[in-house]
């Protein structure tokens, strides 16, 4: 379980998170939604221990995030792969850092995603790079999988492949997946829990199916409504 207690974070004069309290339950697939600048990436970076809150506290299974780095697989929004490497080298690089690397899973996924080990990062398409990032992240058997905008700027077929991969590999109960995205429609049937962020505040959160029962609305519609009533 990941917990945010009255967390605030600013970058200069920009307030990224404004006194938010949140719980990311264990064993669930959680959608972190909101427009650009809502605080999604900042939240993920705080969980990863890449940033520290100005005020408040972030806890991962009751501990400080910096002690839990081995439990986290992180897919950053930016292109973090070295362009001069090929996929095999990028995998080697990841493999040396993490004891939970699952070679069998990696071999299976590389086929499933139609990638080849000798493909050079600098020469592959944006969709293939997105798939490579996914490959390297989910080939680890980490209890927490954090993905920052894994679908943005990617064609619809590749998006489907990414979502299929997540469903195929998801280990119920033991794995917690947090996906930040503004492509809500794509992940409607994928997420258990949702958190809508807006300008550093939690706008709405809850179980996706319960929200549908209560409001008779899809997550996309809920998001639109939440932001229509803003200000």
């Amino acid at each position: 379980m990941i917990e945010f207690k009255n967390v605030s974070k600013s970058f200069g004069s920009t307030v990224a998170l404004n006194d938010i309290s949140l719980v990311f339950p264990r064993g669930k697939i959680i959608g972190l939604f909101g427009p650009n600048g809502a605080g999604k990436s900042t939240s993920i970076k705080l969980i990863m221990g890449l940033n520290r809150p100005d005020r408040g506290e972030v806890r991962v299974d009751g501990e400080s995030p910096k002690n839990k780095k081995q439990d986290m697989a992180y897919l950053p929004e930016i292109d973090h792969l070295y362009p001069w490497m090929n996929i095999a080298q990028a995998a080697d690089f990841t493999r040396t850092f993490y004891a939970d690397w699952d070679e069998a899973k990696y071999q299976e996924l590389i086929k499933f995603l139609n990638l080849q080990e000798d493909m050079k990062i600098a020469r592959i398409s944006k969709g293939q790079r997105a798939k490579t990032k996914l490959l390297l992240t989910v080939s680890r058997r980490a209890p927490y999988l954090l993905m920052d905008e894994p679908l943005s700027g990617i064609d619809i077929l590749t998006r489907e492949e990414i979502i299929n991969t997540l469903i195929r590999d998801y280990r119920e109960g033991e794995q917690t997946i947090i996906i930040s995205t503004h492509e809500i429609a794509e992940v409607e049937s994928l997420v258990d829990e949702v958190i809508f962020l807006d300008r550093g505040k939690v706008k709405l959160s809850g179980n996706a199916e319960d929200l549908r029962v209560e409001r008779n609305m899809s997550l996309v519609e809920l998001m639109k409504e939440a932001f229509r009533n803003a200000d």
Binding site: G27, I29, E160, I167, E172, S189, D192, R212, N216, L219
Partner: protein, 124 residues
């Protein structure tokens, strides 16, 4: 299977299985797809499928045998009940929509009669 995302997905999964039972595509003793297979096939969260399967067990539609999987386990009476339930839901929906358009009981019967006859005619 396409989901209506403004309705709970686990309920739509249950309805899908109910229809398969009513149509006889699934019968007593048949093995259900594993939750994982089904989740991959319809592309939904495995936790949602688990919720649907659990619910179907408590509705006396299926039974899970340890280590063997989930099987259709439904009495003829229960199946009849489910079929009736689905029919009543559809008719209720029809009535309330027709009422909202201002149709009277007599007009509803008339239009039903007329459309059924037309359909039969069209099939010939």
């Amino acid at each position: 299977m396409e989901f209506n995302t403004s309705q709970p997905i686990y309920k739509q999964i249950i309805d899908d299985f109910k229809k398969k039972l009513i149509r006889g595509e699934l019968e007593e003793g048949d093995k259900m797809p594993s939750q994982r297979e089904y989740a991959e096939q319809v592309r939904v969260n495995p936790n949602t499928v688990q919720r649907a399967y659990r619910e179907m067990e408590s509705m006396n539609m299926v039974e899970t045998l340890r280590g063997q999987g989930t099987f259709v386990s439904i009495s003829a009476d229960r199946l009849e009940e489910i079929k009736m339930e689905m029919a009543v839901n559809l008719v209720d929906y029809f009535i309330s929509e027709m009422e909202s358009l201002g149709y009277s009981r007599e007009d509803m019967f008339k239009i039903l009669e007329q459309e059924l006859t037309r359909k039969e005619g069209g099939c010939r």
